[in-house]
Amino acid sequence: MTLLELEGVTASYGPVQVLDGVSLSVPEEGAVGILGANGAGKTTTLRAISGTVRAGGRITFDGKDIRGMRPDQVAALGIAHVPEGRGTLGDLTVRDNLRVGAYLRKDRKGVDKDIDYCLDLFPNLEERITSNASALSGGEQQMLAVGRAIMSKPRLMLLDEASLGLAPSTAKNVYDAIRRLRVESGIAMVVVEQNANLAFTLVDSATVLETGRNVLTGTSAELKGMDEIRRAYLGG
Amino acid sequence: MNRHSRSRKALGIAVASALAVTVTGCGNREDAGRSGDAAEGAPSPGITDDSVTLGITTPLSGATAGPGTCTVAGVTAYFGMKNAEGGIEFGDGQTRTVEIEALDDTYDPQQAAANYDQLKDEVFAMTAGLGTPTNRAWRDAAIADEVPQVLIMTGDPLFSDTEESPWQLGFVPIYQNEGEAFGELLASSSGNHRVAILSQNDDFGAGYVEGFKSAIEGADNIEIVDELTYEATDTSVDAQITELANSDADVFFNAMSVTPLVISSLQKAQQLGWTPNWFLPSNTSSPTAILEPGGAAAFPGIYSVSFSKAPQSPAFAQDEDVQTYLAALPQYGNYPDPPAFPHCQWSWMVGATLEQVFMEMEEPTRDSFMEALRGIEGFEAPLMLPDTSVSTTEDGQPAVSTVVVQKYNGRGYDTVESFE
């Protein structure tokens, strides 16, 4: 059962065509990676899904056409975008940042429970629960951004470069937690990642973008075996 | 250490603000405003056997600070001079000095009302303040509290309506007075004249035009050939000037209060080759600030109105009034420079007029003061031009309702008797 489907998606920033027919299929509870060099269109693909850039082509979520919807409408359907650079609210405490994620939810008890779950998933956050988000380290901010996305109880999470700027051990911690989340919650994921090694610890399949097009698509196992992938993204 | 002193400063400010709430209230303990008038014949607030205090609220900072400062300086200088001579003998036989208490309202009606509230129980009367909205803001309150609000600097006719404003009186001519003076001069001319009118679309412009039209009513020799308006916010009136130029009028009645627009109008008319006789309101007729940059020499006549002598004019260099005034202004009025606005002269005249009132006032009460104020007729205050005077007996007119028409002579103005 397919949850998210992209077909021939195009997008441009002014005169620059960034996406030139991207296709992607994410099954229910599945996780798909998007690999590629800088400027290949990975982040833009996520933005096209979340409605933060105007896109052409077809984007369906749960069988419903979502292309052209406003970001808040897309979010309301259950798609949580964890943007690059995290976008935590620095003036708010960790707890309030988490509550922000649950903004559209009405079940107070469930919210409290999910906050506990997030803190269990990211023990670092529990220690900083009343600190302002601006006082957190990069890794903690990334955890907070993921936690906030969890709080919206999404069916699909869009993760953009979750390892960016983090020390390798921290990045691994973050990915370990996300993998645990995936197993325990069944949230489907689209994972954009420069570090393909990390990505392959999380996703079942992946697609490689070059100048806004799919050039390769396969399961993690298939892709890991390919020489060109090794050379380009796996450091040898 | 630095931080320490810093936050102490902050604390100081906080304490000062807190104190201020109490301080601003404390002066008014007497409850005079609440309980209405005091017993018959008992002295009003702000007057003792040897002094009387007058209050002024006027803009002393902001865009109108220039004329506002003058409204304080003139009257302060006048009474400073009188105090130095020993004071003024009042109608009740006491000799008193006159103190001035002035507050800044920044031309904000709300602040003017607050200033009034602060002053009303300390001063005997309010006077000389500049501005229509700033005086209107507390007019009702002054009536309710029976506090005189007199000889103020506004052309708003409301303040000169005795029935509506029993405790008020304006000092300077209302807009209608100015328009009327020029209309009368024109109507008395022997020739026929075609008049074009351009006025500001508000009560200022309407007042001038109303006065002008009332004066030429029934005069067969005057014909209004075209009449246009503009908005005070317009940045150009070239279109209006072009249309009016086509009317080929020989007289242009221009009720305009915006300095740059007057200059550009003068220039535009010259470009079009239209050089009528031109009338300007008193507040936009400055030779140096407007007429020279506008190239006014090209016109056969630029007319305006006035009631006060121009202290810088060589014609009055030997004038005794002017010499006394120019000496007193820096010495007693804390106004070091030569007066830049006519409001300084007007304020000086307010002082002289109040002196007359004080001399007639038989009891140290606000009632007696108002009675004496309303009885002045034909008082030629110092610095007044011949044929103008202070008269307070006519209802509906401010203290000064007579103005003389003057004509630009290339440097300053000369009074004219007839329109050629």
Binding site: R70, D72, Q73, T88 | S7, S17, S61, A113
Partner: protein
Amino acid sequence: MASSPKTSSPKTSASKTSASTTSAPTSSATTSSASSFRQRPWVRWGAPLLLVAGLAVLPLVMTEGANDTLARIGVFAVAVLGLNVVMGYTGQVSLGQIFFLGLGAYVTAYGVQSGWNIVLVFVLTCLIPAVAGLVVALAAARLGGLAIAMVTIALPIVGVPLAKRLSDFTGGSQGLSARFVEAPEGSGLYDDQWQLYLVLVIGGIVFLMTSLLVRGKYGRAFAIVKGNENVASSMGISPYRYKVLAFTIASLIGGVSGFLYMVVVQYTSPETMSFGHSIELLVAMVIGGAGSIVGSLLGGAFYVIVPDVTNAIDPSLTALLQGALLLAVLFVLPGGLVSLPRALMRRLRRSPAGRGSAAPPTTPSSTPGSGTAAEQSETERQGHA
């Protein structure tokens, strides 16, 4: 913002109680005892009751001048509060707040002069500025960024000549007087006392409702929009809608302040809404403390008291003195006057070397003591490990 003072997990809440009962290191002992003091029911209910009682008596015992000053503070505190909703809480620069005060004042003056029922006048004084604000916001909020600021600059700049021109409604540049608030017969009150009561009651309700608003769900949405519009979108919050909502509420509150302006000043003219006053309101908001209810009160006090104080010092130097005062406050307290207690507290706490600085006492969420409590639990755990 997060209203429930519940702590995150049994672990921390348990150690929190232990922190306040068992002997804790001196640095946090003061804060936890202070917070438990604040949490006692009689303090939580008693303090506001005491405040209300105090405000109820105040007009009766103060001088007329003090009553009048306090009433004017109320007027501008409400105006600053409205500005805070759109700017302090939602982060949208508005330079047009005075326009809505002026509009409210004109609606009130016109309604009173036309002899309309005063309740109807009040309702219109809320509605008309709110609708005007809504229309402006629908257009401006779409533009985003500084465009809103530019559009709002235009409001007072257009408002003043418009008020002069529509003289049938506004009295032109001579303005409108409306002396309509007189103490009811038999109440035994002076007019100034009655006016202050009106300001306290109406202003108090506005403050109460606004503080509920900004602490509730909408307030959280405002804060998210202010913090990061993209995050807001990704949480299902339309930044556009909430900006429009905040602006509309700010305009409504501005209208109410215009009504109060007429209660106290009883006169309005085009000068009332001149652009300079809009800037002064903004300055008052920053000085009082942006994004703060108490800061709005302090801002109103600043707006009213400073001109009186500078007048008392030297009326010919008011502008200079006000500028100097503004700079002084901004240098010493960049967070506004409302941050004064926090700044003092921080300095007090700094003296004995402790680690109690993590939780500023006015953090908008959770209980004041929980920050130190959480840290406490950490040290304890380490201690027992």
